[in-house]
């Protein structure tokens, strides 16, 4: 585990440098966001690979090169995501829940009133409840199961011989989504295979998959929660199909964050710029 950078007494973190970097070491991708004056100036993503720490070093170097700054211009590096404790380049780390809740302060589109944040990641999905001042009130996460996560989408995309970026647009063309009842990835996989065998259109299968995922995540959400809007973050929010499925199932508008995939990294950078460690 890396050492927490000790702040000198009375010295604001802001004095150390102008840039703040957030690293989000997810199960599938490592995301980085560079912040200056509370605004995102650059983002970068690399596949996590097996050497988390090495990938993190690479991404910091690449980002510095891309934005033409020195490593010393970065005041503080905050890590989040499941590999956050093993990224040597980081000064400190913070849980993904806090990071996502913070990220929304920067990534929420205009007109969004803080309420629920739905994050769809590679291996988990979570719902965070915010009060009017963007403070975390509560949160729920999916249990030890990949249903309702990016991994689920990836598995189905593979069977349907398409790629993850095409899954959304294809499903939007569907007029009659299939019913997919299994919530378990492995069972859903065999269900999809049988739908393929029965010559269902893959666009309908994909639309059905999105609805099934949305239903699964909505089960975690509190129906009684009033006030505020719903915002989608995480790599999953890049998928237009899942966004539409959410609106259909929730029967209300669902916002999508700016740089959804980088929301955690942005939050980590923001918290670093505000106060260093937690």
């Amino acid at each position: 585990m890396h050492k927490k950078r000790v702040q000198e007494q009375g010295k604001d973190v802001k004095d150390v440098g102008k840039y703040y970097l957030g690293l989000d070491g997810g199960s599938t991708y490592l995301k980085a966001a560079l912040l200056k004056d509370g605004k995102v100036v650059s983002t970068l993503v690399l596949p996590t690979g097996i050497d988390n720490s090495g990938t993190a070093k690479k991404i910091v170097a690449a980002l510095c090169k891309k934005y033409e700054i020195n490593r010393s211009d970065i005041g503080y590096i905050m890590a989040t995501g499941y590999s956050r404790k093993i990224l040597d380049v980081a000064d400190d780390d913070i849980s993904e829940i806090t990071a996502h809740a913070y990220g929304v302060r920067v990534t929420a589109p205009k007109g969004y009133r803080p309420g629920m944040v739905v994050d769809i990641g590679g291996q988990d999905s979570k719902v965070i409840y915010l009060d009017a001042n963007y403070n975390v009130k509560n949160f729920t996460m999916n249990d030890k199961c990949a249903a309702g996560t990016g991994k689920f989408m990836e598995v189905i995309a593979q069977i349907l011989e398409t790629t993850i970026d095409q899954v959304g647009p294809l499903s939007l063309e569907s007029a009659a989504p299939c019913d997919i009842n299994s919530t378990c990835v492995v069972f859903a996989q065999s269900e999809v295979i049988s739908l393929v065998a029965r010559k269902f259109d893959r666009r309908d299968i994909l639309a059905g998959m999105h609805l099934s995922m949305a239903k699964r995540i909505i089960k975690m959400m509190k129906k009684s929660e009033k006030g505020g809007d719903i915002l989608m973050t995480g790599g999953g929010a890049l998928n237009t199909g899942i966004h539409r499925a959410f609106e259909e199932e929730m029967m209300r508008d669902v916002y999508v964050a700016k740089y959804p995939q980088f929301n955690g990294a942005v939050g980590a950078a923001l918290i670093a710029s505000e106060r260093g460690g937690v």
């Binding site: 913070i94 849980s95 993904e96 829940i97 806090t98 001042n133 403070n135 975390v136 009130k137 509560n138 949160f139 996460m141 249990d143 030890k144 106060r275 937690v278």
Partner: protein, 447 residues
């Protein structure tokens, strides 16, 4: 013959695994910084019980007479009655992951892990404190315990004890009083000793001493910054289940002296900004102390617990007003139902009241609500707790868990984020206070 060999082998492997798990949790709890020296005997008891697999010493100090031990479950079996019959009560509610795996074969899948672990020990016969008990008094509380009290009769001599589902009216206490009178001849037959007014008064005094030391201890536990880790307190409370009350009280007295010394030397184990957390919900029995451990390993302070293997069993003494035998029996019946905050009772507003009281007294900043899978009664009460604590602006998080270690990482992230949430909440409050202060200051300057 082959069957016998196989079951011996299973027992051998069971012992290897269960002692290893118990030892590792003991070590983790003891590794939390600055454990008081006086806490060691309690850990010693847990080690003897679960690692060295020794039974409870049956003879009291300076006595050759061997006492019997009576197994109990839940918090409704009056220990006073068992002592009055000349026996030792032992709480058999178990947190063993290994016994849970054995019990899984005999108890339906959706039942809670605690009853599975109890059944597991009943079947495997590898825990001396369990096997020592000649009788098990099993209160009919939640659905899982109700059915357990039926099926465990196949492996252990068991008496089910009826618990009224209501506790508000005097008539409800009367029902329980009749049950306690019914229990008397059963205990007497088991031990061969009569329960007399004198022995009952002595029993009440024995348990009362432990309760007195507990009430003293709570004064120290309330202190902020903390004087010791709450996970260690959970272990100390768990040890009460396997120690004679007078022995426990004696050790507790020493612990209280050490706490007093720590307080006067301002020897604290927490920093001022460590969030003070209360844990409540389903039972936390050794070695299943993963939730308290996670809270404190992730930087929180477990400042209080409202659980049945923790404070609930001891914070409230029996108050005898009428010293006749019947008067004492009525005091017992009343003590073990009316103030009991177990959610098996239909109306349980006491629990909300008690938790609010603890939040105030222990200066709690957040509540971790523990739900064992299949534990419906506690899950039922989560909603009301969330509503009530929402009014007090105290964050609460529900964590569901089971008797295995597969979910530790998922629990860790939830608990870590919860601790961050409390810290950031405090930070926002401070910032607000500072900005209010500066704006006031500016106004003053302008004036």
């Amino acid at each position: 013959m082959a069957e016998q060999v196989r079951s011996n082998r299973q027992r051998e492997l069971f012992i290897k695994k269960s002692t290893r798990v118990a030892a590792s949790y003991l070590n983790r709890a003891m590794a939390l910084s600055e454990m008081p020296d006086a806490a060691k005997p309690f850990f010693g008891t847990l080690e003897n019980t679960f690692v060295n697999l020794r039974g409870i010493p049956l003879c009291a100090e300076n006595s050759a007479e061997k006492r019997k031990t009576i197994g109990t479950l839940c918090v409704m079996v009056p220990a006073e009655l068992v002592y009055a019959a000349g026996a030792l009560p032992v709480r058999l509610c178990s947190g063993s992951y290994t016994a849970y795996a054995i019990g899984d074969d005999y108890i339906p899948r959706d039942a809670c892990p605690l009853v599975k672990a109890v059944m597991g020990f009943g079947k495997i016969k590898a825990l001396p404190v369990f096997d020592q008990c000649s009788l098990l008094v099993a209160p009919v509380t939640c659905d899982c315990k109700k059915k357990l009290s039926g099926v465990i009769g196949s492996v252990k001599n068991t008496v089910p004890l009826h618990i009224p589902p209501l506790k508000k009216e005097d008539a409800d206490t009367e029902v329980f009083l009749r049950e306690l009178y019914r229990l008397i001849p059963i205990l007497e037959k088991e031990t061969g000793r009569q329960i007399t007014p004198q022995s009952l008064a002595e029993g009440i005094r024995t348990v009362g001493e432990a309760q007195y030391e507990m009430s003293e201890f709570l004064k120290y536990r309330k202190h902020a910054p903390a004087l010791l880790h709450g996970t260690q307190v959970m272990a100390i409370m768990n040890a009460y289940a396997y120690m004679p009350a007078d022995v426990w009280a004696g050790q507790m007295h020493k612990l209280n002296l050490e706490m007093k010394a720590r307080l006067s030397q301002e020897h604290f184990i927490s920093r001022p900004n460590q969030p003070r957390i209360l844990v409540t919900g389903s039972p936390i029995s050794f070695p299943n102390i993963k939730i308290p451990l996670l809270i404190e390993e992730m930087g929180g302070i477990l400042a209080a617990d409202e659980t049945c293997m923790g404070e609930r069993g001891l914070y409230d003494p029996v108050s005898v007003i009428d010293t006749s035998f019947d008067g004492m029996m009525r005091a017992l019946a009343s003590r073990y139902t009316k103030p009991c905050t177990c959610p098996v009772f239909v109306d349980n507003s006491q629990r909300v009241y008690r938790i609010k009281q603890m939040i105030k007294e222990h200066r709690i900043q957040g509540v971790v609500y523990h739900v064992l899978r299949g534990c419906l009664v506690y899950d039922y009460e989560y909603q009301i707790m969330e509503d009530e604590l929402g009014k007090l602006d105290i964050p609460i998080i529900r964590v569901e868990s089971d008797y295995n270690e597969e979910d530790v990482e998922q629990l860790r992230i939830r608990i870590e984020a919860f601790i961050e949430l409390i810290k950031l909440k405090e930070y926002a409050k401070q910032k607000e206070a500072i900005s209010e202060h500066t704006s006031m200051h500016k106004e003053n300057v302008q004036e």
